[in-house]
């Protein structure tokens, strides 16, 4: 009985602490339903005054029609789906080679991948920008997709760790059947990796979705904006119209919250296992 009361107090305390993390989101949502008249009221209203009135979605309509947020969401979804698929494919190929195959330079490549993972993107962004400028790729999606395809050190690391834990018996069975390297990868290792691959896909998608620097530098046409860049530009223009700005923020965050709600178990588990390996 005593344990139960202790648990109850602990849960209450945990709930209070969690409130610090949830409150800004609730505040964002509730203020996004505020009319121009009430957004600046003191003391602040905790419930948006437009909620459950016919004008409820006015701010959202405004943001979507006048500022095209639907289009930017669509841009982000397809571009970053492509980028994340590419990253999963390339990382699983590399992870397989680094964990299962033997070749000269394997350790060197792996060390370089881990070391470069630590370097902030600002160190390499200037030459990268110049490269895309010379290739004529500015204001296309290629600079948002190609680096994500090819330079996914985190994903390579994650899948390498996973592949090295695939039971040896499966590998031996493959050898006995006389499979070649491609069959070994496609028929034996790849089917095992659906769960880490899906997790990597989601993590890569989220990271790209939230990235600001690259899309800000490489995309200049408004119609090609990603959601995060659009939101940031919107902030510059509508600094004083907080209700619209917050509605835009909700729209930019909502797709990821939905994805996170369905995948949080896997994301948190992968964070945990990458931690144990440290």
């Amino acid at each position: 009985m005593k344990q139960k009361t202790a648990d109850r107090y602990r849960l209450l305390f945990i709930a209070l602490v969690s409130a610090i993390y949830i409150f800004p989101f609730l505040w964002m949502v509730s203020n996004s339903f505020m009319s121009d008249k009430h957004i600046f009221s003191v003391p602040p209203k905790f419930i948006g005054d437009l909620l459950f009135t016919p004008q409820m979605f006015d701010n959202y309509k405004n943001v979507i029609t006048q500022y095209n947020f639907g289009r930017y969401t669509f841009n982000s979804i397809w571009v970053f789906t492509l980028a994340a698929v590419g990253q999963v494919v390339v990382c699983s190929l590399a992870g397989f080679a680094l964990s299962v195959m033997h070749f000269r330079g394997r350790n060197l490549i792996f060390s370089l991948l881990v070391i470069t993972l630590m370097i902030p993107v600002q160190v390499t962004i200037i030459p990268e920008y110049y490269l895309f400028l010379k290739l004529g790729w500015l204001d296309t999606y290629l600079p948002l997709i190609i680096p994500s395809f090819l330079a996914g050190a985190f994903g390579t690391f994650m899948l390498k760790e996973f592949f090295s834990q695939v039971p040896r018996a499966l590998f031996d069975a493959g050898i006995i059947d006389g499979v070649n390297a491609y069959q070994m990868f496609l028929r034996i290792y790849l089917p095992q990796s659906s769960s880490p691959s899906a997790t990597l896909f989601i993590i890569a998608f989220m990271n790209n979705w939230n990235d600001l620097l690259r899309p800000m530098l490489y995309i200049s046409s408004r119609k090609l904006y990603t959601v995060t860049v659009a939101l940031s530009q919107f902030q510059g223009q509508y600094e004083v119209r907080w209700n619209l700005l917050l509605a835009g923020s909700v729209l930019s965050v909502l797709p990821l919250i939905i994805v996170f709600a369905f995948s949080q178990r896997y994301i948190i588990e992968s964070t945990m296992s990458s931690g144990i390996k440290g």
Partner: protein, 295 residues
């Protein structure tokens, strides 16, 4: 380990698998690191060709008060971030390391800011920290105190952004600490309790020593992450007021893509590179000499 199996693939096959990654490594990491070093010795505006000026950019950096301030800011941001993230991450992990119904919900709630864009986080915190209409200042006034101008205050702006970044990321470190905590054998803690150790004693004498390798792992990644503050600074202060919240990563962006002083920006990028490199070497050194000898 799998030496016996060399015959199932030729010498070339691994390179087929790893080729895209190796190309990415060269084109987007190694080559830019080398070219940035070259560019740091030039004067260049992205148009025309770089003009070689030897060490002039570095001389200018060292003579610049603004740059010294930015280096100090970077170190200060990192200190607040590393200490804050580790302390709060560990506290959250200890708090949440319990099997009660509904705990998964709270765990996910604390993790939520990790997957939210820094731009949206910056916007909502700017709104909450606003001088007149911000909910935080209204609350501070309501209890009879004088609220500060968080982001407009030269002394407070940098720390405010750093604390928001800690708020955003602490859920991530909580989860890694949690993994470490769950690896600790419960029997050890139970027998300590039987021997009469109180909660404080068992935390500092058993939990912390057994978490040593997790703590060092998190120290390494918080240091690396502490430099990744571009997005939040862009969304919250744009480095202001008067460079009070400007850091090396933000200053690279500012000089290269706002002022078009690309050579100068490359020199800043190289200072950043050297600092990150030294931190990494320092970390490996500490790890080798403390953690591995204890394990």
């Amino acid at each position: 380990m799998r030496q016996s199996s060399l015959r199932w693939h030729s010498k070339v096959t691994p390179w087929v698998f790893i080729l895209p990654t190796v190309i990415g490594l060269f084109v987007f990491k190694l080559l830019p690191i080398v070219s940035a070093l070259y560019l740091s010795f030039t004067e260049w505006s992205l148009l025309g060709s770089p003009h070689f000026i030897k060490l002039d950019n570095y001389r200018e950096l060292l003579a610049s008060d603004v740059f010294l301030r930015i280096v100090r800011n970077t170190v200060q941001f990192s200190l607040v971030y590393v200490i804050g993230s580790m302390a709060i991450g560990l506290a959250l992990a200890v708090l949440i390391n319990v099997k009660i119904r509904g705990i998964a919900f709270f765990r996910a709630a604390i993790y939520l800011p990790v997957v939210t864009s820094a731009v949206a986080v910056g916007i909502v915190w700017n709104w909450m920290l606003g001088p007149t209409y911000g909910v935080i200042n209204i609350f501070i006034e309501a209890i009879g105190l004088t609220p500060p101008y968080w982001l407009a205050d030269m002394k407070l702006a940098l720390n405010t952004v750093a604390v928001v970044q800690v708020w955003k990321m602490s859920g991530y470190y909580m989860i890694i600490f949690l993994a470490g905590l769950q690896n600790i054998n419960r029997d050890v803690l139970d027998s300590a309790r039987v021997d009469g150790a109180n909660a404080m004693q068992s935390f500092f004498r058993i939990t912390v020593p057994m978490l040593k390798s997790t703590i060092f792992f998190i120290l390494t990644i918080t240091i690396i992450d502490s430099f990744k503050n571009f997005e939040l600074i862009f969304a919250m202060t744009k480095g202001g007021p008067q460079n009070a919240s400007n850091t090396l990563v933000y200053d690279v962006y500012l000089n290269a893509f706002v002022y078009y002083r690309v050579g100068y920006a490359s020199a800043i990028a190289y200072v950043l590179f050297v600092i990150v490199g030294l931190m990494t070497i320092f970390n490996f050194y500490i790890r080798r000499h403390t953690v591995e000898s204890l394990d």
